[in-house]
Symmetry: C2
DNA sequence: ACATCATGTTAGATATATTTGACATTAAGT
DNA sequence: ACTTAATGTCAAATATATCTAACATGATGT
């Protein structure tokens, strides 16, 4: 599972990891870990992140049936 | 956060909780808990469930900005 | 009445997400 | 050179998701 969080932060006036974390109720370390695909966030967190950028979940997180890796880094 | 998992199971030839669990790699107890909104599944699990029904995540799980409850049961 | 199947539920264990606190690095501003 | 802001990373703690094993209930079939 890969995601566009880092890109979307840049598109959103260079929003910082700490700022995003504040807006969704997470620490900056957690944002960093999610951006790097170190683990799969809860669905609730995924919705909150997508909401900050005014996007749908599928626009932010990309999932493929057999895909258990992070190859789209 | 509410969801349509139970409904979608019925629409899918009365698929059983155990059968759905088998298909997505979860136990039937976990499926039951998710259906009842007892907790927010991981994003990965949400994608796998939606995929079984050929739906998008937003078709299966409904989230509202301020919504921390399960009132749409 | 008995057996079976699907579901609800619960307690205790394990796995994973998330936090907290700390330290390192790199880029930018003074 | 110094400071500050943003990020990477890590270890240890806490919270939450998920599993396992068990027992209960209602519906269905024999």
């Amino acid at each position: 599972m890969s995601n566009e969080v880092k890109l979307l932060r840049f598109l959103a006036q260079d929003m910082t990891q700490a700022e995003l974390g504040k807006r969704v109720g997470l620490t900056r370390q957690t944002i960093a870990a999610i951006e790097q695909g170190r683990y799969s966030p809860s669905l609730d967190v995924a919705f909150r992140i997508a909401h900050v950028f005014g996007k749908g979940i599928d626009d932010v997180f990309h999932w493929q049936p057999g895909g258990d890796d992070r190859s789209a880094d």
